[in-house]
Amino acid sequence: MSQKSDTIDESPVLEEFESTPVPERARKGAKAFWGMYAGEHAAGTEFMIGPLFLLAGVSLHNIFFGLLLGNFLAVLSWRFICAPIATKARLTLYCHLEKIAGNRLVKIYNLANGVLFCFLAGAMITVSATAVGIPFNLEMPAFDAIYPNSASFVMIVLAVGVVISAVAGFGYNAVSRFANIAAPWMVLVFLGCGIVALKQLGVDSWAGLEAIWTESISFAQDGEVKTSMGFLDVVLFAWFCNAAMHVGMSDLSVFRYAKKASSGWATAGGMYVGHYMAWIAAALMLAAQIKLTQSAVPVPGPMAFNVVGIAGIICVVVAGWTTANPTIYRAGLAFQAMLPGTSRLSMTLLAGAIATVAAIFPAFAFQLLDFVGLFGTILAPMGAVIFADWYLSKRIGVTPFHAEASGCGVSKSVLLAWLIPVAVSLYFIFAQGVTTWYFVFPAWFACGVLFLVFSRMRGAPQSSVKKGEV
């Protein structure tokens, strides 16, 4: 872990093909993507999301079938929206968007990414800290807590945050390798947690499970059984919790390495392992905790310890750590792009510091469902710009890759098309209290339409720049 900062620059992942299409020799078959997605989506946040469904009063039927459908829609989005463009353009989102939106606007978008990544990493640090705190008998914050509940909680979060940030800054490659090693083990521990929790619940039938599930909701809601998430909510949440990656096109950067667009099906590995099995397993862990300890606080460390012991604690720490690491690193790169002349190391440490401060406030972790929806609402609409530019711009007489053709730094068409639907969505979310995941698709769709309308109004002549010739 004491590698020099230039270790980061040695990573071929970071250096190769950042601004050029991926050549044929570097392309990968579908097999590489199945393992990658399955491992990447068994993350620390899965320990939080599953239990939050129980606390939201979601019925067992809606969890099993809503997640089944929502995850399938997410897989379709990767396969038919993101992967086809990725395997034709073979560019990162950054490069692709720069050609449409201009380099300065991409930096602004990048900054928004970076800030949101910091808060996401903060939630992961909180998750890890709940496990680290167990040997110290740390009193966990209550579910509705916004502020930390004790000085010891703050100290442990700070310690975990400092270690994770330092490792992200100095030892990115080492943690990447460790994440590869941990991934198959984590998936099996998640599965084991679910099996053991099921046993602890003492059920032998679907009806029995439903009954004890309803009892758990009733306990968590002080005797009531009310739901704030119906079937549609579960479907939309599962579909759009990774909206920035599929319809938002962030995974252009991943699938540009794929030989064929059909590799997009590999995302099913991540969705049905991480966002189906792991969420359900984590939800069952909370139900088992309620039954055994009469505690409905969805803190991952103690929940995992109850079912599989110290291996569970290790799993929570590793899951949070291995996912917070690249998240902080990527946020650091975003900040560096905004502040030319700064080093990657200093910006990674800055991102880590922001994430650690965010982690002190447990509300970020406990409100993860809303935060993930907000993340998609803000970032995903830019994917619609890429989609519309790729498939529709020529058909309506608009110049594809307009910024590249005209040399502009900020495309007003893209800026307005992005800001208007996002601003409207944020108004409804914060001023009217409407649930975040309702706005992801409308904002995405509106952004694409507005981009075409504004581009058409601009009336630029058809450029000689052709799709695919990048």
């Binding site: 990573s11 071929p12 992942v13 970071l14 190769e16 950042e18 570097a26 990968k28 590489a32 993507f33 990658m36 990447e40 990162t92 989102l93 950054y94 968007l97 990048n110 990414n113 970076g114 990544f117 490659n173 990447s176 390798r177 590869n180 090693i181 941990a182 198959p184 083990w185 099996l188 521990v189 599965l191 084991g192 947690c193 099996i195 053991v196 099921l198 046993k199 962030s250 950067s253 991943v254 699938f255 540009r256 390495y257 794929a258 599989v308 012991g309 110290i310 291996a311 569970g312 290790i314 690249p326 690193y329 990527r330 946020a331 790169l333 975003a334 792009a337």
Partner: protein
């Protein structure tokens, strides 16, 4: 050495999978299962270091920021 570590590692990961099932069908106690999970975890990490990801590969999972 590498092969031995690989087989021990695969065995430990299989044990990680099997132990919760064995507990589910009442063949071992919760405490025994927890201890077994910890041992298989330590064995997995102890052995996999020698045969998984010897160097950082050019795998498509880490594009900076976007």
């Amino acid at each position: 050495m590498k092969n031995i570590c690989k087989w021990i590692g695969l065995l430990s990961i299989a044990v990680t999978f099997i132990l919760p099932i064995v507990f589910f069908i009442d063949r071992i106690s919760l405490d025994a299962m927890k201890q077994g999970m910890l041992i298989s975890t330590l064995v997995w990490f102890g052995t996999s270091l020698f045969w998984i990801g010897g160097k950082v590969s050019n795998k498509p999972d880490g594009d900076p920021i976007l």
